[in-house]
Amino acid sequence: MLFSSAEFIFIFLPFTFFIYFFLARRFSFFYAKGWLLLASLFFYAYWHPANVFIIIFSMVFNFFMGSRLSQSKSKIFLIFGIVTNLGVLFYYKYADFFLANINLITGSSFSLLHIILPIGISFFTFQQIAFLVDSYEGKVPIFPFADYCLFVTYFPQLIAGPIVHHSEMMPQFLDINNRNFNYDNLTKGFFIFNMGLAKKIVIADTMAIIVNRGYSNSGLLSSLETWFTSICYSIQLYFDFSGYSDMAIGLALLFNIWIPINFNSPYKSQNIQEFWRRWHITLSRFLRDYLYIPLGGSKSGEFKTYRNLFVTFLLGGIWHGAGWTFIIWGALHGLALIINRVFNELKFRLPISISILITLFFVNVTWVFFRANTWEVAVNMLHNMFIKNDSINSFVLITDYYNLPIWVIAVILLFGKNSNEIAARFKPNGMFLWKIVLLVLVNALFLNSSISQEFLYFDF
């Protein structure tokens, strides 16, 4: 059930919303939250009902481990908890990749398991590892099991983030004032959700037409077509994922819950370090707090700082997917961060516009590894981009130009005010009334136009 699907927008969401506030008003906050938990589990089970047992097991295990860690502060318990979480993640996400490489290196012939990845497992695993670590460090107060389950399964952020932290979510689930129907939040949430929906169905899905065609014919593309495909993917990925994040933020707000922003105009970044402060912010925050700093951060000398940066981003790459292309992508970003740090040490500065262009160029090129399904496709794309491709064939990437206005709007929006900035200026006045009506109208038209495409980050 995609956020952009009719069954979500017209059935699941209204049903969940009205019953939640009905229970909160007529009965108790406890029942309302219980309903929200049930609805979230249903939302999760909608993809693959059996997977609901995985998330239930994960919640029970981690809540139990967290409670024990709060009391015992046992490092062995902590290691056991983290290893179990990573073990489950490894089994579902990396087992086949691991076996395939073992077979390749040793010449053995272990059968691949062909396990279907439970959706959102990378996200809820990270959230709960953070919970375990903080429990061990005594940073987690005691709270009810039901609230913990709601923190993990809360449907707006369950499938593709943002990766929320218990310290920002639990107090909100405990705040009795959040049981009240709030028109301010409802209106803002409605507006933000519609902005996210438009990003997804108007821009990202339109870009996907070129991207899918380009990447599935990478051997036939000219240099210009390859560059165009790669740029379209950079745009698609941003609008797809940031659109999803906006929708999650908007949906959460309908229930009076604020979840953190995940994007802040990343393509305006002047260097790669800034890029990672603006792109998938909650992942960067997690990697910083639970990987980079525990490894020693920047407190143990330059060489170890470089090593920590590289390891953090290498693992960040692996987190995104089981494949060498993701590993290369993570390694390239790790290297770029090291180079950026060296330049900073040398006080090397470039004009802002040049810095933005170089950063954008690097990010765009490395997205090729992120998008390519196989190593061969990535090599084809990079070959076409950097070595002139003179092959003559009848393939044409762009078959019509109906979507040209959307391409232009997308590029303008990349460098204009982002949805967080627009939402921050939101006021209930005539201007915003026109904007919201127009957004709803455009979304309705696009929703009624095509078959929904899955969000890109569902695969991670």
Binding site: Y183, T187, F432, L433, V437, L441, N448, I451
Partner: protein, 311 residues
């Protein structure tokens, strides 16, 4: 303005805007789904348009249909004044797509007859080639991006703004698709010579699922007492000679499928050698020229005795 008032105004504003747009689209009724009954042509995608027209316009206005891929799509049934025939053929269509559109038309009202173009292309594969034929398009006719694209193309075609790509009278209200100028890229003789040099010019194999779908279509038509005329499309003589054996196998399998259920005409027989050897009947290695189209359609009508059968 309070947030409460703003919220309700935005809900009402959005709802009213959507309703107004829907009403405008119903009033225009580009596909005859709501009130328009006559003279509806095609302006944009042929698959979507014919699928939507098959909901009401086609079954309510026509006695018979022509079915097939592009090879039959440029037969102009409007020239047969004695019969009201709609050309439901679609460029690049296989049996799955064709059957979906026919099923939709038949679900409202059975035609008196159908004319089926038999060529290996129709049954070489199965499955939808695009997502342009699906029930969602029906709701899209109330307001969607492709509907507005169709409006735009209607303006483009009506005013002949891009004649090279969107000619003014490419389609008519009988489903005729005059694509001749769009497909003609080289002299017919050169095109046929080029095809003769290819080893894969004709793939005469029949996909097993496609055959099942074809069989199902025939049985459905028979059960509704629809007269079936099936004709083997005239293939230029040299190409037919080159693929004589596989095309012979194809023909015997299809004849076997149709058995006594249809009137079968073979335009590759020696009787029509004068036609298949005359390249002025073609625009390329298979598609017919105006001259070829007119002869073929009249011959089908004459040989099948359709006019007598219908009247």
């Amino acid at each position: 303005m309070s947030f409460r008032l703003f919220f309700f105004r935005s809900l009402i504003g959005s709802t009213v805007s959507i309703i107004i747009l829907i009403c405008i689209n119903i009033w225009i009724d580009l596909y005859g789904l709501y009130w328009r009954r006559e003279g509806i042509s095609i302006y944009s995608d042929e698959r979507t348009s014919k699928y939507l027209l098959a909901h009401r316009y086609i079954p309510e206005n026509f006695d018979g249909y022509i079915l097939g891929p592009s090879l039959s799509a440029n037969l102009n049934p409007k020239e047969i004044r004695e019969l009201k025939i709609y050309n439901l053929s679609m460029l690049g269509a296989n049996i799955t797509e064709q059957k979906t559109v026919v099923d939709k038309a038949i679900s409202l009202k059975s035609p008196k007859f159908v004319i089926i173009c038999l060529h290996p292309y129709l049954t070489v594969d199965h499955g939808m080639k695009t997502n342009m034929i699906n029930q969602q398009q029906y709701y899209g006719a109330l307001g969607s991006v492709w509907l507005y694209k169709s409006y735009l193309l209607k303006i483009v075609r009506t005013h002949n703004l891009i004649p090279g790509k969107y000619p003014k009278n490419q389609f008519n209200d009988y489903g005729y698709n005059d694509y001749d100028d769009l497909l003609t890229t080289m002299p017919v003789e050169d095109k046929i010579r080029e095809q003769m040099q290819r080893s894969d010019a004709i793939n005469a194999s029949i996909d097993s699922t496609a055959l099942l779908e074809f069989r199902s279509l025939i049985e459905e038509l028979v059960s509704k007492k629809v007269t079936i005329i099936a004709y083997f499309h005239p293939i230029p003589f040299p190409i037919h000679q080159k693929y004589l054996n596989p095309l012979g196998d194809y023909k015997s399998k299809m004849v076997n499928e149709l058995n006594t259920k249809a009137i079968v005409l073979d335009f590759n027989s020696s009787k029509y050698g004068f036609f298949t050897k005359d390249f002025t009947n073609y625009i390329d290695h298979g598609h017919l020229s105006k001259k070829g189209q007119q002869f073929l359609l009249k011959e089908i009508i004459k040989e099948s005795g359709l006019i007598k059968t219908v009247h």
